[in-house]
């Protein structure tokens, strides 16, 4: 795929994702993903993010949920 088309595809999907999330951290997250994966991989990642539902099992949650970090998030949620 020509670079110009890839860029346009990333831009279209990135804007759609940003519009959905509407906050700075998500925008920065998208930019980081584009930087990290580049071109087609980034476009595929953005497309997946827009269209698909992520399935997470118990063992994956054990790995993902760091108790000290979650404790801080809960404290912030109580204060919100």
């Amino acid at each position: 795929m020509p670079a110009i088309r890839v860029t346009a595809e990333i831009s279209r999907l990135g804007v759609a994702l940003m519009a959905r999330r509407r906050n700075q951290s998500s925008v920065l997250f998208v930019i980081e993903q584009v930087r990290r994966h580049r071109c087609l991989a980034a476009a595929r990642w953005l497309y997946t993010s827009l269209m698909e539902t992520l399935l997470l099992t118990r063992s994956e949650l054990v790995e993902l949920l760091d108790p000290p970090v979650l404790s801080g998030a809960l404290r912030m949620a109580f204060a919100a």
Partner: protein
Amino acid sequence: MALPAGQVPSGASGMLLASGVVPGIPAYSVKVHAKFPGGDPAIRGLLVLHDLATGAPLAVMESSYLTALRTGLVGALGADVLARRNASTVAIIGAGAQGQAQLSALRRARTLAAVRIFDAVPEASRRLADNPASQGLDVTLAGDLDEALAGADIIVTATWAEQPFIFCRHLRPGMHITTLGPDQPGKCEIAADALLSARIVVDDRALAVEMGAVGGAGLGADAIHAELSEILAGTRPGRCNDHEVTVFGSVGLAFQDLAAGWLAYCRAKERGMGRSLDFLS
């Protein structure tokens, strides 16, 4: 929202649907929980994370681990805020998944020296004693409730009890109790006389009366000193001296599920974990 009692399947104590929103998180969560006290695990379910703007389902995740972890951390947060600074002995009453989660979380918040464990099922007590959460502590497997409570600075109750088992006579000056069992109408762990002798802090006033420790003991909102958020914000005082008895009653709030689910979702995206599915395909 819980299913009416007449519609709950045989063997289940409740079926729960809970939705949560937190300012600043661009998603909302819906959790479906089936509670079967005789099952292993006793609670099973799913948390669905939806995009706040479009409603699109962002993630579907197993909910019992997430719930146990966040409940443990909130219980520890309440105990850390309210218990005496020099509290070092904890009694765990109810040694199931939540008893273990509470002990693990409490040890992250406080330096403990000893744990006294009591469960109506002795095997459950032994499992908790052998669990890494108990490692390094002076462990006592109590033969009855009174033995477990003797000398405890912090008491954590995480049972399915429908009748109170902690009364005024069990209280000692400076004690803190975290009561987690009452999370639906008809459940109760601490009797009204004990609650009325204590400074009561809850996660949510209305829920504490409707289905939590306060309403379960037949008391109303006027018995509640504060919500945990007010203590954390400094708008209401917590423990005032080393002699008063404090109680933290936690029903569990849907926004806690959302905070945990959102954290898991964001980290999974960052790390490329989980499997994706297009439900509309």
